[in-house]
């Protein structure tokens, strides 16, 4: 556990100006997409998603967390996340158009990464050994927020990678004592239900079992994962 927090401290101490820069870019692009969504802003946001995934892959895991066991696995995983966004960039799959139904949820999720350092401070931790918005789970939460706020048509590959990351984060809450990741878990499980249910509802082809039964299964799985987290944590 010590090496886990020490690597976070080293990362924060060495990269905090860059982290602020990346957060500023994210904020500007989000505001532009929110107020004046245009093609270049959508492309720029996808490029940002690729860049931030590669940042986590090579700067965080490749350099600062390289002392941890199997950190190269995480580098490869975040490269796959970047690949999912590059695929989206090439195929123009996700529209990044605002959807009215879940916008408030999206706004909350977009702001949640900023709560990470606050929780760390409330736990009595001090900079640089705190969770920041440019740690992998906070970045995943920001991506999830973007998908939720602009969910007219979403990048499902990126979404399921985020779901997988959330499962890793849920285990880290227990195994590495990082309760900040509860934010990601709490955001991801309802998102999992919403996005998959939307996908089922959007499919107009007649399938079996019924839409209600499939939605119930998705809800059951989300609840089961949440229950696993609560049981193990408590």
């Amino acid at each position: 556990m010590d090496i886990f927090w020490n690597t976070i401290a080293d990362y924060n101490a060495a990269t905090w100006p860059y982290q602020i820069g990346l957060m500023a870019v994210a904020a500007i692009l989000t505001v532009i997409l929110w107020l004046r969504p245009c093609t270049w802003a959508k492309v720029a946001m996808k490029i940002y998603m690729v860049a931030v995934s590669l940042w986590i892959a090579f700067v965080y895991y490749g350099q600062f967390a390289s002392g941890r066991d199997y950190s190269s696995v995480m580098t490869i995983f975040w490269c796959m996340m970047a690949a999912a966004w590059i695929y989206d960039l090439v195929t123009h799959f996700s529209s990044f158009q605002k959807s009215g139904r879940y916008r408030p949820w999206g706004v909350i999720m977009l702001l949640l990464p900023l709560v990470y350092p606050l929780i760390s401070v409330l736990r009595g931790m001090e900079f640089p050994m705190i969770a920041t918005p440019m740690l992998p789970s906070a970045v995943a939460l920001y991506m999830l927020g973007m998908l939720m706020a602009f969910n007219n048509r979403i990048n499902f590959f990126a979404f399921i990678f985020i779901v997988h990351w959330s499962i890793i984060a849920i285990s880290k809450i227990v195994l590495f004592d990082i309760p900040e990741d509860i934010l990601l878990a709490a955001a991801c499980l309802p998102s999992m239900f919403i996005f998959f249910k939307e996908a089922v509802d959007a499919d107009k082809t007649e399938h079996k079992p019924s839409v209600k039964a499939v939605s119930a299964l998705i809800l059951l799985v989300a609840v089961l994962i949440g229950a696993c987290m609560v049981i193990e944590y408590v």
Binding site: S71, V73, I76, F77, F161, H164, S171, V200, D203, T205
Partner: protein, 256 residues
Amino acid sequence: MTQEYVTEIADFIARYLSYMLGAGVHTSRVVRNSKRLGTALGVDVSIHTSQKTATLTVCGKDDTSVMNTRVLDIPAFPISFEWNADLSALSWAAYDKKMTLDEIRMKFDALVSKPKMNPVFVLFMASLANASFCRLFGGDIWAMLVTFTATLIGFFTRQHLTRRHVNHYIVFIVSAFVASLCASTALTLGIDTAEIALATSVLYLVPGVPLINGVIDITDGHIQIGISRLVNALMLIVCIAIGMSGTLMLVKDSLL
């Protein structure tokens, strides 16, 4: 019995045969059911099958001068136990209730046009099945959860590539690689059962039906198609091995 009627029967049995073989029914059952349909309609049916095509001859029971022979392609449908059961039951119903060709055809059309399984439902059920396998092999709760989402990603990749008509060997390699790579993230958690998650994450790709059908076909004397099916299954297993080897070489620097 007229030539026209025999041709109509041959048309129908050709469809019936191709749907059953395409849906992954083992050969002797397909042959038996087709012959039963023929008997119900008063004709003799002879069939030769191979992996991609089948040859069918239908001739009058008493008058062998009226006959129809054709070679048909076997379409690649998803494995369907439902079609297997329903179409077998149809052959019995035709035989027992002395149904006419029109009645059989109508019933057949109704059976094969039933709605298909929801892809999201299949995605979740396959992922749950793999997580259950992980548990059966001794995985703990975290390994199960990682296996669940790794399978979710791998299976989603498979569905996506299949929809885009990518070569199915490539689909198997990519899906196995992606699923096992995602499952390998369990190694970073330092849990004891991480390797079980890694090993069970690709089980959803194992071609169980072709393997079983291949063995049944060989034991029933359909050696050629049996060997074809086993070779096909073996190729898919090799593809899974290639995908998983990619992950192991990247993650553990060795295959063991």
